[in-house]
Symmetry: C2
Subunit: 264 residues, 2 copies
């Protein structure tokens, strides 16, 4: 029995062509794979012959502990999630548990965090370039974070003119945080502010819409949706959302003549 290893793997949005080779290898080489059922489904083509441990979404602590226990027992373990496993994911929980158990890097099990394309990054790519300037990610899940903390972050982000990515915007039963966040953002930014709503990025059922804050709540928004609210510099055109980096202002009107005259 070997040393045992635990790879905490980001699968990206779910399409196999968005899965990095490193992530793919981590899953393929694992003997045991754990994850929420939806994420295991994303990795299904890679799981033949492996011991699969599925779990409920709210069983994160149990899943993390099971993954650690299997790795400590000498197995090669992959704990998978969508996107990047360190962005609101399992990686921080696993490391907290390990720290509390006195584990240190170099001890068994060997732990690796394998990055993936984040939900925010996947969704952004499908609607243009909304993340062209400073942005933030805020989770609207008030299961683990008091609403007052979330509201403070929304206020700060809005006041300082960040592009705002909303993770966990809503679920079937949890609608209020989104409604509150929407009201707050309308107060700061205005109804005409462009926003993108992307669901099931790079998967069957993908839906990507660019709209405005005025119409945001008309869209279907659920647990596989990411919402991106533009800054005061963001603009929408023809169904795309763009936040300028500033180059065009520096170099003059960006498309004039499509010539090289503004090049420095």
């Amino acid at each position: 029995m070997g040393m045992g290893s635990l790879s905490i793997v980001g699968l990206g949005p779910g399409a196999l062509d968005q899965l990095t080779p490193a992530a793919r290898t981590a899953v393929e080489e694992a003997e045991v794979v754990l994850g929420y059922r939806t994420y295991l489904d994303l990795a299904a083509p890679l799981l033949a012959g492996k011991e699969i441990v599925a779990g409920r979404m709210t069983g994160e602590t149990e899943r993390a502990r099971e993954a650690i226990a299997r790795a400590r027992a000498g197995r090669r373990v992959a704990l998978v999630s969508s996107g990047h496993p360190g962005v609101y994911g399992m990686a921080s929980l696993v490391l907290e548990i390990l720290r509390d158990a006195g584990w240190r890097p170099g001890d068994a099990p060997a732990v690796t965090i394998v990055p993936g394309v984040t939900a925010l990054g996947s969704c952004a790519a499908l609607v243009g370039a909304p993340l062209g300037h400073d942005f933030c990610a805020i989770s609207l899940s008030d299961l683990l974070t008091p609403w007052e903390v979330i509201a403070r972050r929304l206020e700060a982000a809005a006041a300082a003119d960040f592009v705002i990515g909303l993770y966990n915007p809503a679920s079937t039963r949890r609608r209020r945080p989104l409604a509150e966040a929407h009201a707050l953002l309308v107060r700061h930014r205005g109804l005409a502010t462009p926003a993108a709503v992307v669901t099931d990025a790079f998967r069957g059922g993908q839906r990507a819409v660019v709209t405005t804050l005025e119409r945001l709540l008309d869209e279907e928004i659920g647990m596989t949706t990411t919402v991106i609210v533009g800054s005061s510099r963001s603009f929408a055109f023809e169904g795309l959302l763009v936040t300028p980096r500033g180059y065009a202002e520096k170099y003059g009107r960006a498309g004039a003549g499509l010539s090289a005259e503004e090049s420095r």
Copy 2:
């Protein structure tokens, strides 16, 4: 001659095993590849037989126009950058130019944005799980953005307790924004705040350090460095940086007995 296409491609941090299959395909299928020389070097193994158009870093507008012109002329073009091309990248500039030229989706050239693992995501994976809760990305490049705007964002992010990722933290000649940002963050967060400094993630010469705000400026920080400053909830242990998601607080002490007793 075909319709012409322009893929704006994120190469990720630069290691081929962090390059998504979709990004690799976009580069492999291109006839013409444009990018800053450093990014072209990252993709070197994929470029045999292609027309390569290299450029200086500050020639972004020229590079974007050249890419558009080639695609309009019917070529298959890939415009590459590191990380995700829509995160402070070329995607917003290309779309601005296209918008100003009256282009609409469906017109030639076909435009695709191919996401990659962001610099922030790459660096985070190498130091643990600093992005476990709300975070923001702020560019310290004051070439294109007034310092007052940057400072306002730093203040807001610090006051609202975001984890803060600093892009373009410094260059050989541009040291002052980092010093000013550091002073501001020390005022808000305190000297003991943990921070990570990662340079050349997933590349030769990679360096990943977890330190504190007190010692941050002792580290070598340049254009290929990402700095991540923890929130008030982030903690460092054994060279790792972790920002809890909140699960552990919900479920009780995370590592107690490494048993399943806290599972709901």
